[in-house]
């Protein structure tokens, strides 16, 4: 790299206050500013990157979020606790079930509801299937950004199968709203559970196929290795969690460190990387998919044993009675009316983080004891992941932005909220 480029980079990093570019210098005379996004094929939604280039070298990269801002947190305050649930689907829309669970867990913590065993097992199964689906999106979109177009179709074929299963299971393909406060919306249908098991058992072979195409591919290695290197300290400073943190060698997984939904009883490994580059993050996610399959299969086994158990808590202050009962029992009708119109959480606040596919996802909720929520804040891991872009992109080539964005993995629906 030339001296001029070094000077420009120092200036951009704030280490040098004077930047005098020689306008007569044909190679480094002026910087080129280009907008990558918000309408751009590679920015995974509506992220805008304002990039300054010296030739092809990135001098500064300034991500601008907010193009997809829908005021979700504020919406919660006027909708009330129950009706906000479908909105959580639309935060990180590639993994609605994980969002549902995170929201439900915080509500349950504040209301202190005991979730039945079977519901927890179903949740674990659903969360792991969601994680696989979210990682498939990561793999497909990152590959298409780096030019391996067909990978996108391979991963989406698998995702499509999972969508069909979720459709059969929860009644919805995408915005499931399946996991409710106190449990889940409906019990498992046995035929569907069987097809999920078949899909899960066949899936590791598919991961092998993906790996055959990418892991040992020289071009894939060249594009990902030593690109976007994050040290563990960088991750802490940027509050990165999830696969991005684990890729840098820190074994931090909320499923292990702060278990919820009974994760402490499941047998699985937490994969960690060492170099902290895009390639390690890729490997971590690939291995996480394998581990998710294992966890989901364990959950399926337990579901066979807990057959016939409750899948929804019986706490009538917060949980709707079964529909049929409301037509027979006066009390149940009153409960239903109260829950729908005027569900109150106790005064106080709660936060519970879950390990989503992108890092720690949690809902901070505060209640003043009335039926109107006081505050609902989403700790969205995607926003932190976006934060890392400027640091990683600086001094790299324009093409590296694509690898970096892809490997950080975020969904704008969650970032902008």
């Amino acid at each position: 790299m030339t001296n001029v480029t070094n000077k420009v980079l120092e200036y951009a990093a704030g280490n040098s206050s004077d930047l005098e570019l020689d306008p007569d210098d044909p190679l480094h005379g002026e910087l080129m500013k280009i907008n990558v996004g918000p309408q751009h094929p590679a920015t995974h939604g509506v992220l805008r990157l304002s990039v300054e280039l010296d030739g092809e070298t990135i001098v500064s990269c300034d991500p601008e979020v907010g193009y997809l801002h829908r005021g979700k947190e504020k919406t919660c305050e006027s909708l009330g606790w129950r009706k906000f649930l479908p909105h959580t689907d639309r935060l990180d829309y590639v993994q609605p079930l994980l969002n549902n669970t995170a929201y439900a867990l915080s509500l349950e913590a504040l209301a202190q509801i005991e979730v039945p065993q079977r519901a927890q097992e179903i949740r674990v199964l659903m969360m792991e299937v969601s994680r696989i689906m979210a990682h498939l999106i990561y793999l497909g979109t990152t590959a298409i950004d780096l030019g391996a177009v067909s990978m996108f179709f391979f991963t989406f074929t698998e995702r499509e199968k999972a969508y069909d299963l979720l459709d059969a299971w929860s009644g919805h393909r995408m915005n499931n709203s399946y996991i409710r406060m106190g449990g889940v919306y409906a019990d498992v249908d046995e035929a569907v559970a069987k097809s999920i098991e078949e899909w899960l058992r066949a899936f590791p072979a598919k991961i092998d196929e993906f790996e055959k195409l990418l892991t040992s591919n020289a071009i894939w290695n060249a594009r990902n290795r030593d690109v976007g290197v994050l040290s563990a300290e960088d991750c802490f400073a940027l509050s990165l969690t999830g696969p991005n943190l684990r890729g840098s060698g820190v074994e931090w997984d909320l499923r292990r460190k702060m278990p919820y939904s009974g994760y402490e009883t499941y047998d699985f490994d937490v994969p960690v990387g060492s170099a902290g580059d895009c390639f390690d993050r890729y490997l971590v996610r690939i291995e996480e998919m394998r581990q998710s399959v294992l966890i989901a299969l364990q959950a399926l086994d337990r579901l066979k044993q807990s057959k016939g158990g409750d899948f929804l808590a019986r706490d009538r202050r917060y949980v709707l009675p079964p529909k049929g009962r409301t037509h027979e029992s006066m009390e149940e009708l009153i409960f239903q009316f109260k829950v729908v119109t005027d569900m109150r959480l106790p005064k106080g606040s709660a936060y519970l983080g879950v390990e989503s596919s992108k890092g720690e996802l949690g809902f901070f909720i505060a209640s003043d004891g009335t039926s109107d929520p006081l505050r609902c804040h989403v700790r969205a891991p995607g926003l932190m992941n976006v934060q890392a872009i400027p640091q990683l992109a600086q001094g790299r080539l324009l093409s590296d932005i694509m690898a970096i964005i892809g490997s950080l993995d975020f969904v704008m629906g969650e970032v902008d909220r």
Partner: protein, 338 residues
């Protein structure tokens, strides 16, 4: 009479080239669909075979947009610059030997057999990069400009190894005339093909094929258009027939490069174990060999990730060029020994 025959030959060969380019667009879509577990176009005509026609009509009917601030003259010139050289190069490709159709002697099946045929091809295909550079510059768009810049850098780095590898074949055959190069290999014994010359042939073939990928701006070296980064690269601002001309140029260049690879390394139209085959068999052989390379273009595009621009330059200058030079030296030693 000679003029009439030349006219018929020219229309046959150019018609053939354009049809091949059209079929290639269909093949690209069909094969990529197969690779990606899709069906591909199947609405126009039986099994979608008329899709290229529908595409052509669509391109003609689309609105032509010239962006504000674009240099209008050069903006118009660029697509022509991209398409014409690729089409001209086909003039010297020998497709078959002595050809007689309905008792009419057509002579050797190629438009012309230049003594410097190979030089002609390389010179003209080198020109096609101007279309990309000028198109990128004249569009008045930063994405296009970056695409054009990348294309120029890329061409410079790959032209050299391409030429060095082609020189190896010239040294082996002792001629620059493409017809001569084929005739030297056309002995009825496929082992006489240049790709079977020990080491030199294989290294040369691999280098040449990779260089043609870069030369024609094809994936994994398609930085000039590089969708995720530069939106469409040099053709971001192009629409309608101007855009179609860029594509026509790309597919013609691919076809010519596949023909050239066949001629240089796979014995052109020489049929295995049949030295004096009739022209139809020779032409069919030539087409079969060429279609393999055309298939390779498509296969690679839909399988591999894309290189980064600086990695390509490294590869071109630090790996391919030294290997090509060493291969040329080796060829010299080989010739003096045999």
């Amino acid at each position: 009479m000679t003029f009439l025959i030349l006219l018929i030959k020219a229309s046959l060969i150019y018609g053939g080239l354009l049809v091949t380019a059209a079929v290639m667009t269909l093949a690209e879509r069909k094969i990529s669909a197969r690779i990606q577990l899709r069906i591909g176009p199947n609405r126009v005509g039986p099994g979608g075979v008329l899709q290229p026609l529908a595409d052509g009509v669509k391109f003609i009917l689309k609105e032509e947009i010239t962006p504000d601030g674009a240099n209008k003259g050069i903006f118009r010139l660029a697509p022509i610059m991209a398409a014409v050289p690729a089409m001209l190069t086909v003039a010297v490709i020998p497709f078959a030997g002595e050809t007689v159709i309905f008792g009419l002697d057509f002579g050797l099946l190629s438009l012309t057999d230049l003594d410097i045929g190979l030089l002609f091809v390389l010179a003209l295909s080198g020109l096609s990069v101007y279309g990309v550079i000028l198109g990128g510059w004249a569009s008045n768009s930063k994405y296009s400009l970056l695409g054009g810049l990348r294309a120029s850098a890329q061409m410079v780095s790959y032209e050299l190894s391409l030429i060095m590898t082609a020189l190896t074949v010239v040294a082996l055959s002792g001629s620059m005339d493409l017809r001569e190069i084929v005739e030297v290999q056309n002995t009825g014994n496929p082992l006489a093909w240049n790709c079977f010359t020990p080491v030199i042939g294989q290294v040369g073939l691999i280098l040449f094929v990779i260089a043609t990928f870069a030369e024609t701006n094809r994936h994994p070296f398609d930085f000039a258009e590089c969708e995720p980064e530069l939106v469409g690269g040099f053709h971001t601002e192009y629409s309608s027939m101007k855009f179609a001309l860029f594509f026509l140029g790309e597919y013609c260049a691919m076809t010519v490069m596949a023909c050239l690879t066949t001629v240089l390394f796979l014995g052109g139209y020489s049929v295995p174990f049949w030295e004096d085959a009739p022209w139809m068999v020779e032409l069919a052989t030539f087409m079969a060999k060429t279609s393999f390379f055309l298939f390779l273009f498509i296969w690679v595009r839909w399988t591999l990730p894309r290189f980064r621009y600086d990695q390509l330059m490294n590869l071109g200058w630090k790996v391919f060029l030294p290997i090509a030079l060493a291969n040329l030296l080796l060829a010299g030693a080989f010739i003096s020994l045999t």
